[in-house]
Structures are given as structure tokens and as C-alpha cells.
């Protein structure tokens, strides 16, 4: 039997990482395996990927995928700023970042907001379980009102919806999915990798240890029963030779991504236009009031300049510039001193 290779002739094993130390059955491990699949299927060379994360259960996962890529497990809530510095230094890298709800919605909410505001070219995956796992089960800011954990009083505060927030901030790619929805999540992550700009994917990833009481909004059982799927897709990378098929009216919607690849949406709710942020917000709101999750590509707005584009950085990544390109000449210094002495 021959080993299946991707478009750049690498086996999937080249995209795998170390063994996970998360709890058995953790949704985060499913997401890691989807990241491996998506990167392999998209045919991105592992050395061109940089894995970024903050602190928390989710942020440990870069050790468990893409072992041939450099990565940086940074500080709690500060992954976006580190990614910003790395991005402007080497804009050719594909940044795949993993964060959690504590890391993003609480300690790191400022950096989350400003990464979106800058349209930092990165895939920003939030593994959202509504709970602090490593510190043993405190509520996070995305936990729904009324959630009751064994060790705490019921939560009285409203949750922060990171997708709604991202849409309001002008995020150019906003999606929600579920760690158990492997097919949908793979399509979304593959599409996000092809997008230029900040691609936020809020992945509901139930905590098997601290958040799996079935009445919890983010428990495995609850989501399985109540998930409202907005779209399901078939992702066609541009380097595959498949001809585009003509889509029967009203059933599909194709979106051409920045790099020329196409995201095909099989529309269940045919009224939703992902380019319309208000429609996306009302879907989120409706789902929330009906105590369901709406998943899929909620908002998509390509063609906005990314941070590295509006900075107008040199074509060669700054990390690759030689001394002669970085240091002005002796003549430059002399003319500068002459100006001072005028």
C-alpha cells in the first residue's frame, strides 16, 4: 500500500505532533487532528507555518500538531501581540493560532480586539469550553447565564459572544463550529488558512472534565442535540484541477477567496449572505435567544488590507534582509550630520 501524499508530496505524518497530555476525550484533541488534516490537505509546507498560542488547555495543543513547524507558546492572553511582532517580521509565514475562552475572552480580550482591528493575517482558533480547565473548573466569560457547576454557585453574568464581538469589530472572517463536527470544521479551517486577514473561528469544544453536565450550554450532549447548522461546505483548493460546477440557483453559494481558491457553501438557510454582518449578528442573536448555536461561516469580507499590507513592508520579509538593506550608508549618516550642522 502506498502512503497518500498531498499536493506538495508530503505524507500526513509530516503534519503530526507529539502525544497529547489533555484529558482523554477532550474536544481540543479533535481540533488538533482537524488542524493537521486541514494543513495537509491545503498542502502548506510545515516550515511555512508558525503555531502560536497563549496559556491554558487549548494553548498547550500546538505541541500536539505540526511538529515540523516552529511555534511559540506565549503568555496568558498575549498571543496576538507576539503574533503581530512575528507577522511584521516574516509576513510570508502562515500563522495558525490557538487560544481558549479564558485566554481570549478575559485576560486577552484587549489583544483579541486589536488583532482584529489591525486585520492581522492569521487563523485565530478559539477552543471554547466556558471553563478554566488547568485551574480546575472556574467559569470563564463565555459561559452561559444560569450554568451551574458542581463546585460553584450558578453563573449570573451574561456570556461574551466572541463571534458577535468579532463581527462588530469588522473582522474579515468569522465562523463558529463544534469540535465534534469534523467535516465542517475542516472546511472552515482550510478556508481560514486561505484567507488573508484575521480569521476567527470560535469552536465549541466541551470540557469533558469540568463542563460536561448536560444542562450546560457547551456540554457535548447539549451541543449534539441543539446545533443549528447554518452551512456545510465542500472546500476546493485552487490548485486542484476540478472544474467548477454550475450550482443550481438557491442551493449553493460560492465564495472566491483571496488566493483564488473557492469556498462552496451548501446553504441550508438560503437567506444568509455572509457578506452581510447585520444578518450574521441577527442569526447569532436569534440562536442565542432560542438557546442554540448557529455554526458555519457567519461573516466573510475579503479584500481588506492586512496589517503587513498597510504598513507597506518590503517584499522580502524583514527577517531576511541583509545588513546592507537594514543599515543606512555612511553617506546617509554624513548627510544627516550635515543637516544637523546647517
Amino acid at each position: 500500500m502506498t502512503i497518500k501524499l498531498n499536493i506538495i508530496e508530503l505524507p500526513k505524518s509530516d503534519y503530526q505532533g507529539g502525544p497529547s497530555s489533555l484529558c482523554p476525550g477532550c474536544g481540543h484533541d479533535q481540533i488538533s487532528s482537524v488542524i493537521i488534516n486541514a494543513a495537509w490537505e491545503n498542502g502548506i509546507a510545515p516550515e511555512n507555518i508558525a503555531k502560536m498560542s497563549g496559556i491554558g488547555c487549548s494553548s498547550k495543543t500546538p505541541a500536539y500538531f505540526l511538529g515540523k513547524s516552529h511555534g511559540f507558546n506565549t503568555l496568558h492572553g498575549r498571543m496576538p501581540s507576539v503574533t503581530t511582532g512575528a507577522n511584521v517580521t516574516n509576513k510570508k509565514l502562515q500563522f495558525i493560532a490557538v487560544s481558549g475562552d479564558g485566554d481570549t475572552a478575559s485576560i486577552g480580550i484587549g489583544q483579541f480586539v486589536h488583532a482584529i482591528r489591525r486585520n492581522l493575517n492569521m487563523v485565530y482558533i478559539i477552543e471554547n469550553n466556558g471553563v478554566y480547565g488547568l485551574t480546575k473548573g472556574q467559569y470563564s466569560a463565555t459561559v452561559e447565564k444560569g450554568s451551574a457547576k458542581r463546585k460553584s454557585e450558578p453563573n449570573e453574568q451574561p456570556p461574551i459572544d466572541l463571534c458577535a464581538m468579532a463581527i462588530n469589530l469588522g473582522c474579515t472572517f468569522v465562523a463558529r463550529s463544534f469540535s465534534g463536527a469534523k467535516k465542517q470544521l475542516t472546511s472552515l479551517i482550510r478556508a481560514a488558512m486561505s484567507h488573508r486577514g484575521t480569521a476567527v473561528i470560535d469552536v465549541i469544544s466541551p470540557c469533558v472534565t469540568f463542563s460536561n453536565n448536560d444542562e450546560s450550554f457547551r456540554s457535548y450532549g447539549y451541543v449534539k442535540d441543539n446545533e443549528l447548522e447554518l452551512h456545510s461546505y465542500d472546500y476546493i483548493p485552487h490548485f486542484e484541477s476540478l472544474e467548477e460546477v454550475e450550482i443550481p440557483e438557491g442551493e449553493f453559494q460560492d465564495i472566491t477567496l483571496f488566493d483564488g481558491s473557492t469556498l462552496r457553501l451548501e446553504t441550508i438557510d438560503s437567506n444568509h449572505d455572509p457578506s452581510d454582518p447585520v444578518a450574521a449578528l441577527s442569526h447569532i442573536h436569534k440562536a442565542e435567544t432560542e438557546e442554540r448555536h448557529v455554526t458555519g461561516l457567519l461573516h466573510y469580507n475579503p479584500g481588506t488590507k492586512t496589517l503587513d499590507e498597510w504598513l507597506d513592508l518590503s517584499d522580502t520579509p524583514l527577517a531576511d534582509l541583509a545588513e546592507e538593506q537594514l543599515r543606512p550608508s555612511e553617506a546617509d549618516l554624513a548627510s544627516l550630520l550635515a543637516q544637523f550642522r546647517e
Binding site: A50, F72, S81, G85, L93, L313, L318, E323
Partner: protein, 594 residues
């Protein structure tokens, strides 16, 4: 009355936001262009408009740059400080004042030159009268002490960047001030300015501008910053030079600038950029350093290069945000949690602000650690005389492996394996595909693999200690001026350089000959220990309350040398005045029986 030539101090009292800074800079630049040794100190409030501001101009043939012990010529423009400023004057002082303010000058022991500055200014342009009145006092001063008219007009043109209408208005105002004094007063005071031959190479520049240029010539590839006085002008200096000095043939920039959402993010960007192979930098002041400390610790432990300039202001917290201090020394040296030790560079002159500006990147990449540039409001935001900057040496990009061949030459490569015995390991960069590693703050072994093994942790921490200790002989070495007697030695650093000679001269007037040792970097050079060993009594002189450098010396010197080391530490927020410190040094020497 004996003439006093080129040895007196002006104090110009105005209100913030009235345009007096332009007037004061015109005055300073004109005197400088006359070849007269001069220094200016801007004492400004944390305020946009209305609060009192003083500008002190010291004219000193001896080249002293500190503000001086007393005011000889007081300019009064500000109602709010009028009585107080007047009361502080010694008999015989000169008072040039705006008589339209209608406040009394009830001292018959001063020489007063009242000038109706507002009236003169209104006659020229009623709307801009408040601003123009400031230029009128420049004209009045020019006539009183004898300032060259052509040089004054040239300075006006430079200050207003060739804008014809502004230049004309200001020159007219100057002349009216000058004429008024000429027509109404006989010169009764002894103060005269005499032109000297000016070194054609010399110019005035702020420390922040010099550090900005040093960074530009150091090949900075990313500046992240969050505005904070007194560091903002360093960042703005870098930004202003990028179009001219850091764009490529296609007109694209080779230095990214990101104004961050806060200092946490600014530091995070520095760490991210350094990790990705860039020369990254931020600049801030004490409050920013506090916020950056978690990242500073991460960079130390995960061994990521980066440069942070601290332009020190008075803390803690907001403290006196527009005043100067050397109060962040111990904070910088051990920033972060757990055991850390950082490289800190202490420029004492604008030339060194430039030099350490570029060297900081070499040290950061060599030692794969954060390097601090330590300046302060006095050095950073005031103008200082400078003869030019020397072009940098070739860059040191540190131990980075770029090719498989380079990697293959290393037996048993590991990101954190010390193959050369200097504590510095080889790194590979993201995008290279060479031996990738997940960089992190969590414990790891020599291959960069997660580990909480006690022996592995200890080995890592010992190596980090050796690595930073290895910089002691490579960093800028202390500058010594040693006396033959070698009884008393003064250790000092940073902007105190600009006051030390006057302190030394004042001590010598009392019969004390002291050696000087200017520390230019932490960790300390062995040369500092040698200096201590060579002198019977050591004074560590600094502008803070607790003697922060003294504390570091006590901790690091051999125990038998510690008893000879004493602290003279004082900070009131103002730029150091020589007399304050020389008196304290003398007191201390008496106290310790030296």
C-alpha cells in the same frame, strides 16, 4: 561693576502652551551658534495648557551643563509664579518682565527691565499676542546681554522651518523687543554674552533623537510603542526618519512601526519580532516597564532577543511624570519573576545614546535576551551639544543557523544545548524548516522539549546565569578618571555625566581630589570592582532615593570591599544641580570619616 562674561543662568518663567518653547529654543540655538557653551533645561508640567513652565539656560565658559546654583537673569511672564520666582532671586539679579501683566516687582535690590510685551505683541497681531509676547522677551534678552542679530534671525528661520510669514512676524517682534530695551534703559547689569569660535562640527540634539537615529542605523526592523512621556519623542524620532533612511528601492519600508494598545502588547510584539528573526524594539518609561515585566521574564527564559529603552521619569505610579530620575535601575536589572538578570546600557551623552542605540541590537542578538537602554527625561528630552556620531561597526546577528550545512556542523544540535561553553545556544528561525521547536516559558530540556525535571531546570538556570555573566567584559566598559591619590572614588552613571565635572570641581575647591568611574552597563564590568579595590572610600552617586546602583554593588562586590562603599542618592525630580550633590558627598565623607 565687573563684567560677567559667558557665565550666568537664565530662568524664563512662562505658562505651558503659550508657545514659549519655540522662543526658548531660538534663544538656546542662537547662543550655541555664537560658540558660547550653553545648555537648556525645560521644566514643564504634566499639562497641555496653562500650568507653569520654566526654561533654564546655563551659559558656562567652563562647559558646565547642569542648571547651576542660582538664577542671574529672571524672565517673568507668568502671573501664577510671579511672586515666588521674584522672591527666590539673589540681590543683584536681573529681572526682565512683561509690564502688561500688571503685577508688582517690589524689590529694590534687583535690576529691573520692564517691557510692555503684550502691548507690543498686540500691535503686531492681536490674535497671536500671547505667543508673540514670548518672542518679544527674546528680543529684550538679546539687547540686554548682547546677542548677535544675524544669528538670532537664522535661528528664527530654522525654528519656523522657512515659513516666510511666521519668520517675518517673529523677526519684527524680536526687533521691537530689542528696540524697546535700547530706547528705554541704560544697561545696569554686568552680564555679557561674547561670541566664541564655534566648532563647525558641533550641533545641539536631544538624547531621544540620538537614540532614535542609533536605532535606525542599528537596523531596527520593528518598533512597537505606546505613548508615554518622556519616551514618546524617541519613537516619533524613529518614525520621522523611516521615509528617508529606511525605505527600499521600491519605496517600501524596512522597519515596521506598530502603535500598540498598551505596553503589554508593545513588549509582546518585541518578543514576537525577535523570535521571528527581527531587530525589535520598544521605548517606554517606568510604568510601561512594570506592564512589560512578564514578557521580559519570558524573553529571558525562552531566550528571545529584543531591545527596550526606558526613558526614566519620576515614579512610582504617575509620580512626577514630567520630571527626571534614575529610579528604575533595580527594576530593569531584575525585571520579571523568578531569577532574572538583564543587560542594561547607560548612555551618559547624546553620542552614547546613538552608539548604544545600535549596539543594543547586537547585544540582544548575541545574548538572545532583552537589552535595556536606560536614559532619563533630562538626557532624553533636553538639547545637548554633540560633535557628531561615529558610523557603527559591522552587525553582530548572533548565533543563528540559516542552512542545513550550518546545522550539520553542530554535533547533537538542540535549541538549548550549550555547544560552545559560553552559555549561548544556537537558534533556528521560523520559516527556515531547520529543527523547529515550540518556544515557551515552561521548563524545557536542551532539545526544547517540555520538562519539569529538577536537575534540568537547575542546569538551564545556571547556564542562563553564565550567559549573562559572560557579557560583563563585552559590554561598554566603565570610563575612569583616576587621581594619583586614589583616596576617594565616585561611581556614577547615565545623565549624571553632565553634572559630574562641576561636582568634581566643587569638591576640589574644598581640597578633595576624587577619582571618577562612570558605569556604562549592567551586569557590572570587572573594572568596577578594580576601581573599588583601588580606592579607600567609594561614593555611589545617583539621582534616586534608595541608592539603587549602590544596592547592586553591595550585592555583587566581594564582601571585603563592601564596607568602603557608600551611597549618596538624592532625587527631587529636577535635573541634578552640582551644589546639591557636592554638599551631600562632603557630608557623607565627613560622616564616614574619610
Amino acid at each position: 561693576m565687573d563684567k560677567v562674561v559667558n557665565d550666568f543662568t537664565f530662568n524664563i518663567a512662562t505658562a505651558n502652551g503659550t508657545g514659549s518653547q519655540s522662543a526658548n529654543l531660538i534663544l538656546l540655538h542662537t547662543m550655541f551658534e555664537m560658540g558660547v557653551p550653553v545648555s537648556g533645561k525645560n521644566l514643564f508640567p504634566s499639562n497641555i495648557s496653562g500650568l507653569p513652565t520654566w526654561y533654564i539656560v546655563r551659559v558656562s565658559e567652563a562647559g558646565y551643563q547642569a542648571p547651576g546654583d542660582r538664577t542671574h537673569i529672571q524672565v517673568l511672564m507668568n502671573k501664577a509664579t510671579w511672586a515666588d520666582d521674584l522672591a527666590k532671586l539673589e540681590p543683584g539679579s536681573v529681572v526682565i518682565y512683561n509690564s502688561d501683566v500688571k503685577l508688582p516687582v517690589e524689590r529694590d535690590d534687583v535690576i529691573a527691565y520692564p517691557v510692555p510685551m503684550t502691548k507690543i505683541a498686540r500691535g503686531l497681531n492681536p490674535k497671536l499676542a500671547r505667543m508673540i509676547a514670548n518672542i518679544v522677551y527674546v528680543g529684550a534678552i538679546a539687547e540686554v546681554v548682547g546677542i548677535d542679530q544675524a544669528k538670532l534671525e537664522k535661528a528664527v528661520a530654522k525654528q519656523f522651518k522657512g515659513k516666510a510669514s511666521a519668520i517675518e512676524l517673529n523677526v519684527t517682534a524680536l526687533n521691537l523687543g530689542r528696540e524697546y530695551v535700547k530706547e528705554n534703559f541704560e544697561k545696569l547689569d554686568p552680564y555679557h554674552l561674547e561670541a566664541r569660535e564655534k566648532n563647525p562640527d558641533s550641533f545641539l540634539v536631544e538624547g531621544n533623537e540620538a537614540a532614535a537615529l542609533g536605532s535606525i542605523f542599528g537596523g531596527i526592523t520593528m518598533l512597537s510603542w505606546y505613548p508615554i512621556t518622556p519616551s514618546s519623542s524617541l519613537a516619533e524620532g524613529i518614525i520621522s526618519h523611516i521615509p528617508q533612511l529606511r525605505t527600499d528601492a521600491d519605496g517600501k519600508v524596512t522597519c515596521a512601526v506598530v502603535q500598540a494598545e498598551d505596553e503589554l502588547a508593545a513588549a509582546g510584539m518585541v518578543v514576537g519580532a525577535g523570535w521571528a528573526g527581527g531587530r525589535s524594539m520598544t521605548c517606554t518609561s517606568g510604568p510601561g516597564i512594570s506592564l512589560m515585566s512578564e514578557f521580559i521574564g519570558l524573553a529571558y527564559f525562552s531566550e528571545v532577543p529584543g531591545v527596550i529603552w526606558d526613558i526614566n521619569r519620576v515614579g512610582p505610579s504617575t509620580g512626577l511624570p514630567t520630571r527626571t530620575q534614575q529610579g528604575d535601575v533595580s527594576l530593569l536589572y531584575e525585571a520579571g519573576h523568578g531569577d532574572t538578570k538583564h543587560i542594561v546600557l547607560f548612555p551618559g551623552t547624546v553620542e552614547e545614546c546613538f552608539e548604544f542605540g545600535w549596539r543594543a541590537f547586537d547585544y540582544a542578538e548575541r545574548y538572545q535576551s532583552i537589552v535595556f537602554g536606560f536614559s532619563d527625561l533630562d538626557l532624553g528630552m533636553n538639547f545637548w551639544a554633540c560633535n557628531g556620531f561615529d558610523y557603527p561597526d559591522r552587525m553582530d546577528r548572533g548565533k543563528v543557523l540559516h542552512t542545513q550545512e550550518e546545522l550539520d556542523e553542530i554535533e547533537n544540535y538542540g535549541r538549548y544545548r550549550d555547544v560552545d561553553g559560553d552559555g549561548i545556544c544556537y537558534r533556528t528561525l521560523p520559516g527556515s524548516g531547520l529543527k523547529p521547536v515550540l518556544t515557551r516559558g515552561t521548563g524545557r530540556d536542551e532539545d526544547g522539549v517540555y520538562s519539569e525535571d529538577p536537575a534540568t531546570y537547575v542546569a538551564t538556570m545556571e547556564r542562563l546565569k553564565n550567559k549573562i555573566n559572560g557579557s560583563r567584559t563585552a559590554l561598554p566598559q566603565p570610563l575612569l578618571r583616576e587621581e594619583v591619590e586614589q583616596e576617594v572614588g565616585i561611581i556614577y552613571y547615565g545623565s549624571m555625566e553632565n553634572t559630574i565635572q562641576e561636582i568634581d570641581d566643587q569638591l576640589e575647591e574644598t581640597g578633595r581630589k576624587v577619582s571618577q568611574c562612570r558605569v556604562r552597563a549592567l551586569p557590572l564590568s570587572p573594572g568596577v570592582e578594580e576601581f573599588v579595590a583601588n580606592h579607600e572610600t567609594i561614593i555611589v552617586l545617583e539621582a534616586n532615593r534608595d541608592g539603587q546602583m549602590y544596592g547592586i554593588l553591595r550585592k555583587e562586590l566581594p564582601i571585603d570591599l563592601v564596607p568602603r562603599v557608600h551611597s549618596v542618592a538624592y532625587s527631587d525630580g529636577l535635573p541634578p544641580r552640582a551644589r546639591v550633590y557636592s554638599d551631600k558627598v562632603l557630608e557623607k565623607l565627613v560622616e564616614v570619616g574619610a
